[in-house]
Assembly symmetry: C2
Homo-oligomer: 437 residues x 2
């Protein structure tokens, strides 16, 4: 993509309304724009990141054995009356009346609707397990939306659901999602740590939040220092195998949110304990028959008797992750995208547009990257070198290739790693080979 | 995918509420399910088709030079008051009050919001043309939603917008979309014909509906018989070139909706005139300064004077197309998917699950297709042959490979083309080569 033609409205000044770094940087980098309070339009650069995150989430849900569906955003209130949540859910639920005065709502989550789909079609334990997910916009009418996409009102969420014949089977589904979450965040270049969460009235230990570490994170967290060097689960994990040992090994390393951490009972020696901050980006949850019971989601068991199915739900905040990744990965100059979610891999800067040698080298590199299938954004604008380089740092592409008249006179361009700041001069051919590798 | 594990709730009986064939077949094929009146959940098979259509639309918008953004579903009423449409839009607009009693709405279209994005960032003619699109759910509160996804309340639409400095430039944008639409529908295996549409108070000939031919279509259309054999625009069309000749050549062939067709003035001889039915799947529209004027979307022109930008909008009904394609392509046995939008390319039927020879051949073919990157759905359920074959016809995958004990005894399987009905016996290896080619 040529920046001269790209709709990338970067801002020089920091917008006053942005309280946290990810919100500031997303606005400054021209990634998004507020449409109304807590509701955003995704501009081309931000949209690319959102789609990359969504695709990683999708790939790993598919790999774990879930099937993608798509439920609508607008739901009938009747289903929520069946589960009892229509009255319980407070003012965060956006309630709507249609033209026939029927009570509708903008879904904040989908347990009711997915349970309705399940009970309509599934009759026998032989059709289990049921494993469905979707990636859809949700709405929660926050009283005071802020922090940009980290706490917006309209947000994109992946929510998966499981239906099983008993607790043991439900636990297998839970473990699959547990492992899928480790892989999902690892693939995005994030250190995500599962921490026990309140599981509500059901009890048990079947509820975990996945929290990424970020010094600017929203809440304080504690973990054993082994977590910082721990490998995520292997890429070739077999989802058909018993995953309990993988989950147990993971949970054996201490990690706790501020709410759960008690210095008096913490099993980790002070010297081994890391105190930092984090951001919740996922939450997995087993809730038994909480919805299936009132909504009548039952199947015939192997003995012919009716069984109420055991359910779980598994959420990832897809749009929230865009902000979360920036919180976890930025510096004073701007965003530092992990390569798997970067909007483009390479930022190609022509420092002197109009100079024949610079233009021809930049154009040749651009064509080379495009032909090699490498996503490249070329700054071909007539603009001074300083703002061009600052702009490239701001938007945070993993690699910069800088073409300038002094280098070209010596037959070289500069390749910069945005994360480490390392710069290296090399021939255009060597730059091509380095980044196409 | 193995059908034994796939959530594909096909129905034997035709649901009573479905009045048209696409609605009946989508329900029977387990593609979707009504959530509430005019609002549907997409089940795995339907979701795959929806995504394929979306991706073709996206590819062709990108190729034509548009950039993808994503605007939210919920909009502030204030913007619509600026354009004057808040009061004009009738009861089809879903109006919402948030917890702070602010007037919001579920966007039925996005001219106001995109104009707001444009005016916030663009100041100079040098930043034009502006070419943005998004693919997002819309809501129109139809008084009597029916016909399934053909006339739903919540529906997925691609809407593109153009911003240009004058009429001549706006016309170039219009022509690009005109050509992109021809290519988009052609890639889906559809015959789509542009027909002049009412352009409202602005007048001129810059509004066309794209209508696909289907005997079960919603409206009567007339066209010259040359349309039936006409090629769409070539795949290597150069969007940077002058597209007016391509557009003119296309419009030189007569085609008109019932509304526009007048036998008294029709230039086509009766013998050359085709009278059939059609379904609107796209609409492109130039509307000048209708929104940019009241909303103040102006740029500095080349002479420094302020210019109000000329706009156009270009819609494709993405979810509507799922139904539209079925209306255009089905038979008594079920759906007949054009290959580019088929949920799977191959339906592999093991007629006798449990038979060692059948199982091993079917499994080997399945592994072969998966390894070759061919999307395959294998019916590995324990079920009688008749219902299995009927089910495969119903869901309409382009190719069926049938593995049965009689064929296997002779070393062959049967390959069936769903559209032509042609069947051919061949070795499993030959079947593999035929379909992987």
């Amino acid at each position: 993509m040529r920046l001269s033609r790209y709709f990338l409205p970067t801002l020089k000044d920091t917008p006053r309304e942005a309280e946290i770094v990810s919100h500031r940087l997303m606005l400054r980098a021209g990634m998004m724009q507020q449409a109304s309070a807590g509701i955003y339009s995704w501009l081309p650069l931000g949209f690319r990141v959102l789609k990359k995150i969504e695709q990683i989430v999708r790939d790993e849900q598919d790999a774990a054995g879930w099937q993608e569906v798509l439920m609508p955003t607008i739901q009938s209130a009747d289903l929520w009356r069946e589960s009892g949540r229509y009255d319980d859910y407070g003012k965060e639920m956006l309630r709507i009346k249609d033209r026939h005065d029927r009570d509708m709502l903008y879904g904040p989550t989908n347990e009711e609707l997915i349970t309705d789909i399940f009970r309509t079609h599934v009759r026998s334990y032989r059709e289990l397990p049921g494993r469905l997910y979707h990636i859809q916009w949700k709405f929660r009418d926050e009283v005071r939306p802020r922090f940009g996409v980290m706490r917006g009102r309209e947000f994109l969420m992946k929510d998966a659901y499981s239906f099983d014949v008993d607790f043991a089977a439900a636990k297998r589904a839970y473990n699959r999602q547990f492992v899928a979450y480790l892989r999902t965040f690892d693939r995005m270049g994030l250190k995500a740590i599962p921490m026990a969460a309140d599981s509500g009235p059901i009890g048990g230990d079947m509820s975990h939040e996945f929290i990424i570490l970020a010094e600017t994170g929203e809440s304080e967290v504690f973990c054993h220092k082994d977590w910082l060097s721990a490998d995520a689960v292997p890429a070739d994990v077999d989802y058909e195998a018993d995953l309990q040992p993988v989950v147990d090994a993971c949970l054996a390393r201490y990690a706790a949110t501020d709410e759960k951490h008690d210095p008096a009972t913490c099993p980790v020696a002070e010297a081994d304990l890391v105190r930092t901050r984090g951001i919740e980006v996922g939450h997995i949850f087993y809730f038994g028959t909480k919805y299936s019971d009132p909504m009548g989601a039952r199947v015939a068991g192997s003995d012919g008797k009716e069984v109420t199915v055991h359910m779980g739900s598994y959420g990832v905040g897809v749009s929230r992750l865009v902000g979360g990744i920036i919180e976890a990965s930025h510096d004073d100059a701007g965003i530092v995208w992990p390569e798997p979610v970067a909007p483009f891999k390479v930022g190609l800067v022509n420092l002197k547009v109009g100079d024949v040698a610079c233009d021809s080298t930049a154009e040749a590199l651009y064509a080379g990257f495009v032909n090699a299938g490498i996503e490249v954004l070329m700054d071909d604008r007539e603009e001074r070198p300083g703002p061009k380089l600052a702009n490239m740092d701001l938007i945070g592409l993993p690699w910069q290739v800088v073409v300038g008249p002094r280098g070209i006179a010596n037959g070289v361009v500069e390749v910069k790693n945005r994360k480490t700041g390392e710069r290296e001069e090399m021939t255009p051919e060597a730059a091509m080979n380095r980044l196409a590798g």
